[in-house]
């Protein structure tokens, strides 16, 4: 039995999260971000009523002041388990004075922290689906694949090689390190493929370097 997926799918629009706080986990956990209508049903029918409503994430106001470390607060005494007595345990927080009377300040962490790209890309679906922005790009990617007619759902064949699939996540950054956009990509696990079963011929359309130089040379001559 073959169920070909119709093009009409409903993708609930997630509100765009504040990029400054990607770690904010929304309150909802059930993930049914799309709804597929089997081919047997009328594609023009209104969407099914049981679509799960997803609450928008709570508004999260970030004030620039919270990112700064207040210098007036008393420095905390570290609580660790090892026996070594550090200077801070002796309540001595002054910078170490070197022999030539030069006072070394510790590097201002509050200033450097903003420059280092802190957000890392998730490595698996289970990490990514906790975040609204990753879910959103996955929904977009999935609807593009469905719209292109990339596959049709069939009941699993008895004797066939079935390859795995996984999501890959990328953070596209601008030249200054700021986040440009998030990208999710569905890939097939090609290493599950078997020759003469689901691979017959392969080819990599790469160019010979000499050809580029030859063509550039001709172009320059006739310019």
């Amino acid at each position: 039995m073959s169920v070909s997926l119709p093009h009409q799918i409903t993708v609930p629009q997630f509100p765009c999260p504040n990029e400054l706080h990607p770690n904010h986990i929304p309150t909802c956990t059930p993930l049914v971000p799309f709804m597929l209508i089997p081919a047997e049903t009328d594609a023009q029918a209104p969407p099914l009523a049981h679509s799960i409503e997803i609450e928008p994430p709570l508004p999260f106001i970030v004030s620039p002041a919270t990112a700064q470390v207040s210098h007036l607060d008393p420095l905390p005494v570290p609580t660790n388990n090892y026996s070594m007595v550090t200077r801070s345990k002796n309540n001595s927080h002054h910078p170490i004075q070197s022999s030539d009377d030069f006072i070394c300040y510790p590097s201002p962490k509050a200033l450097t922290a903003a420059l280092v790209p802190t957000e890392t890309k998730p490595t698996s679906y289970s990490q990514a689906f906790k975040f609204v922005h990753w879910r959103e790009v996955m929904n977009q990617e999935f609807s593009v694949l469905i719209h292109n007619g990339t596959w049709s759902l069939v009941s699993p064949p008895t004797y066939a090689n079935i390859v795995g699939s996984r999501w890959i996540y990328k953070i596209k950054r601008k030249a200054d390190g700021a986040i440009e956009r998030y990208k999710a990509c569905l890939v097939a696990k090609g290493f599950h493929q078997q020759e003469r079963v689901d691979i017959f011929e392969t080819f990599s359309p790469v160019i010979k370097h000499a050809t580029i130089r030859l063509v550039i040379s001709i172009v320059i001559t006739y310019k």
């Binding site: 009941s155 699993p156 079935i162 493929q193 040379s217 320059i220």
Partner: protein, 317 residues
């Protein structure tokens, strides 16, 4: 070209499990029978290329017989060349309006981003000047020493000492094999614009499988030379004719381990250097003359290839 590999049509029966998180609620045990290619499949590049070449053939292009990545269109006294490297496409020709038409008709099928005139292609920077073009990989070279925190190394004016003979036994095993392969692999990619390091890179490449610390010293010397010569570029200029000239050389029994010889050649078209190679010969030569003949044969093979590609572009060599 964006999302290139998703365009290709699959003719094989490939079944894939449903993507995680997007399992159909009514048919959780069904599998996806792929009609279009996906990233990661072995045949993805091939199906993409056949899709693109079908499109180009329908636009009137003809596929070159000598190089599959070259497509030529000759119509209304204008000639258009298209070079394809996976999803990077270089288009050039005698008529700007025809080029615009072609880009426009490609845009009807694919998502194409026009990056304007050639400035950056496959990591190679192109600098235009009045009488030619400079090809340089300076960004790539600048990035190389950072991987080994060698930014502060002293520049050096030559890539290797002339009496340096590397063997597979002199030295102790180098601990970071991955780094060695990484750096030497990058140097091989530099071969695009740097014929001057072809010979030394060939020498250090022979020990990729089991690098010793002596080999690593040689690699570091090359990195210092690259730092010295970072502004060196390959210059391609106007040529008066398309005469092909080949120069070759062989080094008899150059390899201290198995006494195989090294053959090298470089080929000029007019005044432009367009091809070079430095390679160990696959069989042992019993005399210097034998090694030379093998080197001639390799150079001649490349010359014949160039002759046929020029013939195809209807340019007399």
């Amino acid at each position: 070209m964006q999302n290139a590999f998703l365009h290709g049509d699959l003719h094989e029966n490939v079944f894939m499990i449903q993507p995680q998180g997007y399992v159909h609620p009514q048919y959780p045990n069904h599998v996806c029978k792929l009609h279009k290619s996906l990233y990661g499949l072995h045949q993805a590049p091939r199906s993409w290329f056949s899709k693109l070449s079908t499109k180009l053939l329908s636009l009137g292009f003809s596929e070159s017989k000598v190089d599959t990545s070259l497509f030529v269109l000759q119509k209304f006294n204008s000639v258009i060349y298209i070079l394809i490297h996976v999803d990077d496409i270089l288009i050039t020709g005698s008529s700007a309006s025809v080029i615009d038409n072609i880009i426009h008709s490609l845009q009807t099928t694919f998502v194409v981003k026009d990056l304007g005139s050639l400035a950056y292609f496959l990591g190679v920077k192109a600098l235009w000047c009045i009488d030619g073009i400079y090809l340089t990989q300076c960004n790539y070279i600048a990035d190389l020493p950072k991987r080994r925190k060698m930014e502060n190394a002293k520049p050096c004016t030559s890539p290797m000492a002339s009496n340096c003979r590397l063997t597979s036994i002199d030295g102790t095993p180098f601990e970071d094999i991955r780094l060695y392969r990484n750096i030497v692999g990058s140097m091989q990619y530099l071969a695009f614009t740097r014929p001057d390091i072809a010979s030394v890179v060939h020498k250090v490449s022979k020990f990729m499988h089991n690098p010793l610390d002596t080999h690593w010293l040689a690699v570091k010397r090359i990195l210092r030379y690259l730092k010295h010569s970072i502004s060196t570029a390959l210059f391609i200029t106007k040529t008066v004719n398309f005469t092909l000239q080949a120069f070759f050389h062989s080094d008899w029994a150059a390899d201290r381990d198995d006494r195989r010889s090294v053959g090298a050649y470089c080929i000029y078209m007019g005044s432009n250097l367009i091809s070079w190679s430095c390679k160990q010969q696959p069989t042992v030569a019993r005399s210097g003359t034998e090694a030379e003949y093998k080197a001639i044969a390799n150079a001649a093979t490349e010359l014949i290839w160039f002759k046929s590609i020029l013939h195809e572009l209807s340019l007399p060599p």
